[in-house]
């Protein structure tokens, strides 16, 4: 349901003289902003909307109807772990005893907040097999950057400043090399084998005393567990490098395997993937970074530490001298931290063990149910996700993009498409542990229908979507015209 009037741009709903706010009276009006030197004030007010409260509410409510979220339906976006975002987490994130805390309140007035922060640090350490965590990084990419900073600081503390190379598999997400570059490291690519796992023979000659470390996900971007991980870690350690674990694909390991036990030294976790905090249209996220014993002192400042006496546990904010420095204003995205800890408490030690296995079961179930109509380039058991290389029947001319768009017509979000780059028509499917067999069956049925449509009525698939709020968009026009703000003069 959508109202054309209210879905216009908010600027188009603006009428001079309307207002959507109320403020208490100013009791000290004899102090006037006009007393500031004129050259320090803006000459013309910003063109912001003038709208009444109901218009604002209807406008954004109508816009929300043009959006699809996990709460709307199945969202099998590979590598993004679109799991259910429990409602209790949202309530806790805005808990009145936490939401008004100022980051620079006096010590002793924020003990509850510090305890949540500390407890989440330690739960993540236990779940991942690391020694200590920082929750300061604001997102996954920010965690990667922070983790690589830890890596460089470690080598520099040993006088090995020449270690500036980071090895990244060719299948890795683009963020890995981008983070390395921001961190002042040089990226060296290691090849994958036909089954998508790291080619150990290609890795061997890359290892020397200029290597700072290696970045990996496990399972990798194809959803395949890197069986030779122990060998790879031993080789990198032998050469004096550190192993970095990109936590993007941590979900299938929950309950079965810990990165720390696989030989990784530094890692980040995406709380918005594995620990159920909402993706919020792309953020805010949170990217805690964990390290193995011996690397704790390099973590970014400030840190939350426990100071216990005989009777009680206390917590304090600390700034260490060996730290790599500061990567955030304060202690990260605290609201996201509250949500993730609520999730861990809800799951408890019993249920957390089911997360990985059920996510893995769901992925394998979908894969096995569709591999007769979609091209499965890598056979065998997958973890939480897998990749199809387009429709099996290539004669129809229907591409992965077309299949993805047609899925929208049927009320499903599309998988991740054209990633990883190893396959031309990649579609990466990740159903999480929260999806029921009936949901998966419906999805499977629709994909089979689309495969049939591709043969019988390819044009309909190629022009999809047909039932969405808008049709296919002209990307080229957007890039060429670069209209990125509203034109008030038009």
């Amino acid at each position: 349901m959508n109202n054309q009037y209210y879905s216009k741009l908010i600027f188009e709903l603006s009428r001079e003289g309307r207002q959507g706010y109320s403020l208490p009276p100013n009791e000290f009006v004899n102090f006037k902003i006009e007393d500031l030197p004129r050259q320090l004030l803006r000459q013309e007010g910003p063109k912001l909307p003038e709208v009444d409260e109901l218009t604002v509410v209807r406008h954004y409510t109508n816009m929300s109807n043009n959006n699809f979220g996990v709460d709307t339906g199945f969202y099998p976006l590979g590598s993004c772990t679109m799991k259910y975002n429990p409602k209790i987490n949202e309530d806790m994130a805005v808990h009145p005893d936490f939401v008004g805390l100022h980051p620079f309140q006096p010590a002793g007035t924020v003990d509850g907040a510090l305890e949540v922060y500390y407890n989440l640090q330690h739960s993540l350490a236990e779940l991942s097999g690391m020694s200590e965590f920082t929750l300061n990084p604001y997102a996954g990419a920010h965690g990667e950057l922070t983790g690589l900073m830890v890596m460089r600081t470690y080598h520099e503390s040993r006088g090995e400043t020449q270690r500036r190379k980071v090895i990244v598999p060719d299948s890795a997400h683009g963020t890995n090399p981008a983070s390395a570059a921001v961190c002042g490291l040089e990226v060296v690519t290691v090849k994958s084998l036909a089954d998508g796992t790291v080619d150990v023979d290609d890795l061997r000659p890359l290892l020397d005393d200029t290597v700072a470390g290696m970045m990996m996900t496990n399972p990798n971007t194809l959803g395949i567990f890197e069986r030779k991980i122990a060998t790879i870690a031993a080789m990198v350690h032998e050469a004096g490098g550190l192993m970095y674990y990109d936590g993007a694909n941590l979900n299938p390991l929950l309950g079965r395997c810990r990165p720390g036990d696989l030989g990784f030294d530094i890692m980040h976790i995406n709380l918005h993937k594995t620990f159920s905090t909402p993706h919020g249209g792309g953020g805010p996220g949170s990217g805690p970074v964990g390290v193995r014993a011996g690397l704790e002192r390099f973590l970014p400042n400030p840190r939350v530490v426990k100071v216990s006496d005989d009777e009680t546990d206390g917590f304090m904010v600390q700034h260490g001298d060996d730290s790599l420095g500061y990567v955030s204003g304060h202690l990260g995205n605290f609201g996201v931290i509250m949500r993730a800890y609520a999730y861990i408490l809800s799951l408890g030690r019993e249920n957390v063990k089911q997360v990985g296995p059920l996510a893995t079961l769901n992925a394998n179930y979908v894969k096995e149910s569709l591999k007769d109509v979609f091209e499965l380039p890598i056979e065998g058991v997958c973890k939480h996700e897998f990749v199809f290389d387009g429709l099996k029947d290539k004669s129809t001319g229907v591409t992965t993009l077309d299949v993805a768009k047609r899925l929208l017509d049927y009320g499903f979000h599309a998988p991740t498409i054209y990633f990883p780059l190893l396959f031309h028509e990649a579609m990466m499917i990740e159903p999480t542990e929260n999806e029921s067999r009936e949901t998966l069956d419906a999805f499977i049925e629709v994909l089979r229908t689309i495969a049939r449509e591709a043969r019988e009525n390819p044009d309909m698939v190629k022009t999809a979507p047909h039932n969405t709020p808008v049709r296919r968009l002209d990307d080229t026009k957007a890039a060429l015209e670069q209209i990125v703000t509203y034109n008030f003069e038009a």
Partner: protein, 456 residues
Amino acid sequence: MAYKYFPHTQDDLDAMLGRCGMKSLDDLYQDIPDELVFKREYDLPDAMSEAEVRRYFNELGRKNVQLTCFAGGGYYDHYSPSVINHILDRSEFLTSYTPYQAEISQGTLQYIFEYQTMMAQLTGMEVSNASMYDGTTAAAEAMMMAVANAKKRNRVLVSETVSPIVRRVLHTYAKFHGVELDTIQEKDGVTSFDDLKNKLAEGNVAGVIVASPNFYGIVEDYTGWADACHEAKALLIMHCNASALGVLKTPGEWGADVAVGDGQSLGIPLSYGGPGVGFLCTSKKLIRKMPGRIVGQTTDAAGQRAFVLTLQAREQHIRREKATSNICSNQSLMALYVTVYLSLMGRKGLREVNEMGYSGAHYLAKRLVESGKFTLAYPDKPFLNEFAVKTDQDLDLLATVGALNDINIGIRIADDTLLICVTEQRTPDEIDQLVEVLTNPLSTKCDCDDDNSPQE
């Protein structure tokens, strides 16, 4: 084994495993070498019911103390209208991801387009992204942007009047990214123009970072700065308080190339420092050097107006190590916060918020100076709603007395200097009470034993 987040019945498990040719969940992990499998119990609490989770946070919440906030320093206690949380709770917004499938993401794409427009209006710049984490990292991104733009020059100057919270993040990024970060001296609470000119003359400068208002709350006069920077081919980067941009001269008007800061002051709760939303606005000329996601207007196959992520070829998922930044986030939900806030407040509301902060802060400053126990740290410098005062009294003691009276008196920025902020949230009574605590601490009534705090 039924659990509220897992829909699998035993029947489901059997049927689904059967289709995969397996007998148990363990079979799904047959590819993991046994010695790598985690076998013991996790050392974690037992599962809690929803009521128990709530009780747990209620109990911890009681260990926090709710204080009337006179602290700023980059995090501001502004009022957040009720409408905002209700809109943010629309789970079509909350539970979606980056709008890759534009046809079913027009809600997110459209509000980001509106956000970009509003931030461009506030900063006086031409383009904006919605991808920065917070004000400190937005400044770091702008610093790296300046260096990328300059190609061979790698020196960036930052004023000593930029918040130390921002400067220490800049320092960290600079160290790893190979940026030579140098400071421009402060003189009487403002940045020395002479020192800027001297340091520009030394050469190799890619960018200059200043603040408005600065860390001491002072509104600096940057007349001539943009010309001086541009003559040296350096970008002028201005770190701003977003709310204050409703009244203060904009980075665009000063001739700056990049405006950065945190949008938290536009109605986002303090939430112990996060999440906020960094903003980064610049000119069209520099759009390709700008990190993060950008939404552009286009048309769909039926010719109607629609919005889409654009200029993506600059980004990390395509350019890998050559990308302008490693940022993948869209700080969307927080950008929505700001967008709804600015829709409600409009130009007039934002101005009133600033007027109330200005009036309250100047009233408070006057009272403190009149008491004879405080002096303004920079008496002849203009400020908006935040200012620094000096005193001979013990600031730790004042902070403690303040806390006992449920007041956060401000931020101690030197042994004898306190940074105080007044927003529209502070009532005349609260301001008078702060004056009482600060000027007469030992006789201030301590109501710490009264059981009147709301959470008890």
